[in-house]
């Protein structure tokens, strides 16, 4: 019987939640790496038991852990993330040049075809790749070196490369997003890059339509239609129908278009999910009501999903890597909160239950659909 495994990263460790295909009862294993921050865990799509995890803390820095048995046991692999050549500078908060300094790995994206190949998005923003199961990491420095790097500035959470999308129809094409630089695309397997931010408008920068400088929070795609991209920007939910060449806003009737995660339904390319947050200075749901919003029209028209979610006195946030979908039918939708709850829906968002309520603040959630 099919099942689902949730890989949950928190401020104080990792948890692995498992259920059968009904998704009614969950077993919680962990904490793994107790006391460490787990920014992200993700499994290989071609070997579900191969999982990579980003483990870090302020004392002892960055580690990468790898599991080959579905998250039961782990092995530390390579943790040396050396920028290619002389790293140069980006802009600091005060506008002065600041040397590129590695802080942590925000996001791990395993290859769609090779379990030993995995990409890492790091702070200060750069993209690394390992082709030996995480033992050695090499920067794809064409991203930082494409020209606009010295003008990039950090967002409030640091200058992080937090989103990596691999095109399932074109193995040479990939996308990344950086706060607060914007979205970028490579058409040559990561060797060279260019900004793809035309159509984004950001009121918080001097030139609202600048080529770079936008605080993109997350990008998502449906694998059957990879040229269509959906974006949750700092403010604004955006859509591109031409692989990022241009973007248009699809916030429509959302109660707030600020937020962090965005997901696409696994079987319906025009069904997308966001979690509206009140504002950039008030990182909690509008009106104290946690509502996931679903659009079945690729944006603009949204419905609030509330059944089973707290509808009063709720002041948690859902961070950019803390939502996921499984690929069962009907699909499961999952969000993790800064209050330590994991909310799950086994009916594409119509109804929700709290799988667990009292974890440390949740940084990331990834769903694996098991055979």
């Amino acid at each position: 019987m099919s099942g689902v495994r949730l890989l949950v990263g928190t401020r104080k460790g990792a948890f692995v939640l498992t259920s059968d295909g009904t998704r009614e009862r969950w077993e919680v294993a962990g904490p793994h790496f107790a006391g460490w921050e787990l920014y992200h865990l993700k499994g290989s799509p071609v070997d579900l038991n191969r999982i990579y995890a980003s483990q870090s803390n302020g004392w002892f820095g960055q580690l990468i852990q790898r599991s080959d048995d579905g998250g039961t046991t782990w092995e530390p692999v390579g943790n040396e993330f050396a920028y290619d050549g002389v790293p140069g500078t980006h802009q600091w908060y005060d506008g002065t040049p600041h040397p590129w300094e590695f802080a942590r790995v925000w996001h791990l994206e395993p290859s769609l075809t090779d379990p030993d190949t995995v990409y890492a998005g790091v702070e200060d923003a750069a993209l690394f790749r390992s082709v030996d199961g995480g033992r050695e990491w090499t920067e794809l420095s064409g991203l930082r070196g494409h020209g606009s790097g010295p003008s990039w500035q950090p967002g409030a959470g640091g200058m992080c490369l937090h989103t990596i999308l691999l095109d399932p129809k074109d193995e040479t094409r990939m996308y990344v997003a950086i706060s607060a630089a914007g979205a970028f695309r490579s058409d040559d397997t990561g060797a060279t890059w260019r900004p793809i931010n035309r159509g984004l408008r950001s009121g918080g920068i001097p030139d609202e339509d600048a080529e770079v400088g936008h605080c993109v929070h997350r990008i998502a795609m449906h694998p059957a239609r990879p040229e269509v991209l959906f974006m949750q920007k700092h403010w604004d939910v955006m859509r591109s129908d031409d692989a990022g060449e241009s973007w248009h806003e699809v916030s429509g009737d959302l109660p707030s278009d600020f937020g962090f995660p965005i997901e696409v339904h696994p079987h319906e390319p025009d069904t997308i999910y966001v979690v509206p947050i009140k504002s950039d200075s008030e990182h909690f749901p509008p009106d104290g009501r946690l509502r996931v919003y679903r659009s079945r029209t690729g944006g603009n028209e949204w419905e609030a999903l509330t059944d089973g979610l707290p509808q009063r006195d709720c002041y948690v946030n859902v961070l950019r890597d803390a939502s996921s979908v499984d690929s069962l039918d009907p699909c499961g939708v999952y969000v993790g909160t800064t209050g330590g709850q994991i909310y799950a829906s086994a009916d594409a968002g119509d109804t929700w239950t709290a799988v667990v309520r009292d974890l440390p603040p949740v940084l990331s959630v990834e769903a694996q659909t098991l055979p």
Binding site: G35, G58, W59, F60, G61, Q62, L63, P76, N79, A82
Partner: protein, 98 residues
């Protein structure tokens, strides 16, 4: 025989209980002890000092014989009681919460 006490997180990472005992070739300095430690436990590389610069991570401290040795040059000989294995070298995570 050099005795080294690691903080709990690093003992877990290195899968050791209690003190680590190391043979160190040549002069016993912070650098040579950490070299021997990382050679025995490669998973500790990068957690105590930076991979490239070899500088101590900011929130790691080195204590021995009641003294803070964190700011000593890495090639400074360690105190005789440490060299003789009478006193341990303590690798400490700085006091910081969260």
């Amino acid at each position: 025989m050099i005795r080294v006490v690691l903080p709990a997180h690093l003992r877990t990472l290195a899968r050791v209980d209690g003190e680590v005992r190391l043979d160190v070739d040549g002069e016993v300095t912070m650098c040579s002890v950490l070299d021997a430690l990382e050679a025995r436990y490669p998973m500790l590389r990068g957690t105590i000092r930076d991979h490239d610069s070899q500088r101590r991570r900011a929130f790691v401290r080195f204590f021995a014989c009641g003294e803070d040795l964190s700011h000593e040059p890495p090639d400074t000989p360690l105190p005789d009681p440490v060299t003789a294995g009478v006193e341990p070298l303590l690798v400490v995570g700085a006091m910081a919460g969260g």
